[in-house]
């Protein structure tokens, strides 16, 4: 059952993350790519690289037959789906198994069971895990959805029954806003997941999003690796995640952890997964509600790795090849604090509009307690076809305050030019008094948007440098040699840099 050659059915930073873990285990890797990613880092990092198809995801990274063909022709014996793309498609997990490949993830039937919000919720109710009031109306017409919303009580959230990641999700405060929200949610659901079925639920005011990492093996063991607080979101997508959550007490953490393990076990789950909860209140008296299960590795998994001292991808590969979980529950503990900031090519001032184009300058910071998981490099053209996340910056330290300070200082040393990014915005989040106080809820970004978007006029020093950059050699040719042409004195002494 040992994995010898693994195909990574993904791109970007997560493909590189998986390739790295395989390298440590002596597993050969097969990268796949679309025409937009011919020169991408993940392609060069693998041992074998195969083209999947044209740039649109539907023709490449979402094309199940093309991925299976690639695995066959490369002689792979296993497939890791990463997150997004095909990672939560039961049909893909099934196709892998049919083709004799190990799927590094849960069994297809567990994906199916937890992938449907309706089915997952019914299962949770049966096993005694608390859920938020809501329903998937049998009548999926605009009128049917509106009637369900009225019955549940406003405000409501309308979401894709088949989806996750905030795609196809709309909030409606009242019947009037519902008219726009329903068709928009349906279109997004249809285009993102190929299924426009909508689900309506009660919107809990100022909830926290706190999720529990779970892990189960094929030998009947299941553990949790504590929580991640993911309340800082924009467009219902997480941008800053941390562990531990400032809201949990030991007893609440224990209750949520045990509920998450129950949820995973009842689903017949195997491998890494995440149980997302909405947390209403904080401390011992807070209530938590099952939101959904993500049947895959999460974007924010490094936060858990940093505080528990584990390697979740390595554990995924071990469990997928039939080995037992590398830890018992009593082996696991949280130590210190970790914060992840997702660096996106986007313009926060323009409603977080995704940005595309070449990264004219891109320099990652480094230092003690700083981990960068990225999929790009200087010169990479950020394509329009995929999620615009460039990198994840994970800072860990012994306390929350120290981790925040470390993350903010690292972001101040993370220059990216040529494409707008959310780095200035992330710094404002980390330095906001409410964030520092741990006063978080999923509406944090909207509630503090004006503060977070505030910009100062450029200081004099910036205009001086802009002027120097204009008179200097053009961008892209500014090697050290060109710099000498520009400043003949710099070749005579190396100091001051």
């Amino acid at each position: 059952m040992d994995i010898k050659r693994l195909l990574v059915a993904n791109r970007g930073e997560i493909a590189l993350r998986i390739i790295r873990a395989c390298g440590e285990l002596g597993i050969e890797t097969v990268a796949v790519y679309s025409d937009a990613d011919v020169d991408a880092r993940h392609v060069r990092a693998a041992d074998i690289a195969l083209r999947l198809g044209p740039a649109p995801a539907i023709d490449s990274y979402l094309n199940i037959p093309a991925v299976i063909d690639a695995a066959r022709s490369a002689g792979a014996d296993a497939v890791h789906p990463g997150y997004g793309f095909l990672s939560e498609r039961a049909a893909f997990a099934d196709a892998c198994v049919q083709a004799g490949l190990i799927f590094v993830g849960p069994p297809a039937d567990a994906i199916e069971r937890m992938g449907s919000k309706i089915g997952a919720r019914a299962l949770m109710e049966k096993t005694g895990v608390p859920v938020v009031p809501g329903s998937t109306p049998r009548d999926q017409s605009d009128e049917g959805i509106a009637a369900a919303a009225t019955a549940i009580g406003f405000p409501v959230l309308i979401k894709a029954s088949a989806g996750g990641g905030g795609k196809g999700m709309r909030a409606a405060a009242d019947a009037r806003t519902l008219a726009d929200a329903i068709p928009a949610a349906r279109r997004e659901a249809q285009s993102a997941f190929g299924d426009g079925t909508l689900y309506v639920e009660r919107l809990i005011a100022r909830p926290r999003h706190v999720e529990i990492q779970v892990f189960a093996d094929a030998h009947g063991s299941a553990v949790h690796l504590f929580e991640r607080e993911c309340s800082v979101q924009r467009r219902h997508q997480k941008i800053v995640e941390e562990s531990p959550s400032p809201a949990l007490t030991p007893s609440l953490r224990d209750r949520m952890g045990r509920a998450a393990v129950t949820a995973a076990t009842s689903a017949g789950y195997r491998n890494a997964g995440t149980i997302e909860f909405l947390l209403d209140g904080s401390g011992d008296r807070a209530s938590f509600y099952f939101l959904e299960m993500n049947t895959r590795l999460q974007v924010e998994h490094p936060v858990t790795e940093m505080v528990t001292g584990t390697d979740l991808v390595r554990a995924q590969l071990m469990v997928a090849s039939g080995q037992a979980l590398p830890w018992r529950q009593e082996d696991l503990a949280q130590r210190g604090h970790a914060i992840e900031c997702r660096v996106y090519a986007e313009d926060p001032a323009a409603g977080f509009l995704p940005q595309a184009g070449p990264l004219a300058l891109y320099r990652e910071p480094s230092g003690p307690g700083i981990r960068i998981d990225s999929g790009v490099e200087e010169g990479t053209a950020v394509p329009v076809q995929y999620d615009p996340m460039l990198a994840k910056l994970i800072a860990s330290a012994d306390t929350r305050d120290a981790a925040i300070a470390r993350a903010a200082a690292a972001l101040r040393r993370f220059p990216i030019l040529g494409v707008r990014t959310n780095i200035p915005f992330l710094i404002k989040v980390l330095e906001h008094p409410a964030f520092r106080a741990g006063d978080l809820h999923t509406g944090f970004v909207d509630a503090h948007l004006a503060d977070l978007l505030s910009v100062d006029a450029p200081p004099d020093i910036v205009t001086s440098v802009a002027r120097a950059a204009r008179t200097a050699p053009p961008a892209g040719t500014g090697s050290a040699a060109r710099a000498e042409d520009y400043d003949p004195w710099s070749r005579l002494n190396g100091w001051g840099r």
Binding site: A184, R187, L361, R363, L411, L417, D456, V462, A466, D487
Partner: protein, 136 residues
């Protein structure tokens, strides 16, 4: 690169492309800058500035488009056109819905006005700065 007189700022290129070292008396700061098209991008202490190429005074952001033609902000697919020529619109109304990177991007009216012309249809792939709709 001797120590400049206090109050006089010296800007020199650093060792890496795009890196600039600024010395002002004993103070040293490191910035990054790249000229790209008509703007110069500058990174300073976590903030990014886009300085207009032809002006010394600078804005952090491109000035917002006023009225007139509404354009596509990036390559995108038109998924819905909610208005037609002659329709009266109010500030903030959604006129067109674009989709890019799996996200819907509403194009909203910047002010009250009337739709003069619509230049796209659902399903069209539009390029950045392509005119989508004319308002008056």
């Amino acid at each position: 690169m001797a120590r400049p007189e206090p109050g006089r700022r010296d800007v020199t290129r650093g060792a890496a492309a795009g890196e600039f070292v600024v010395r002002d008396g004993d103070r040293i700061e490191r910035l990054y800058a790249v000229a790209s098209g008509d703007v110069t991008w500058v990174f300073h202490d976590g903030a990014v500035y886009e300085i207009a190429f032809d002006a010394d005074s600078a804005g952090r952001r491109r000035t917002a488009r006023a009225h007139g033609a509404l354009t596509a902000p990036m390559p995108a697919t038109v998924v819905a056109v909610k208005v037609g020529p002659g329709d009266a619109v109010r500030a903030g109304d959604t006129l067109i819905v674009l989709e890019a990177m799996k996200m819907e991007l509403p194009v909203r009216a910047p002010g009250d006005g009337t739709v003069r012309a619509v230049h796209c249809r659902p399903g069209d792939l539009v390029q950045p700065d392509a005119s989508l709709i004319d308002l008056e």
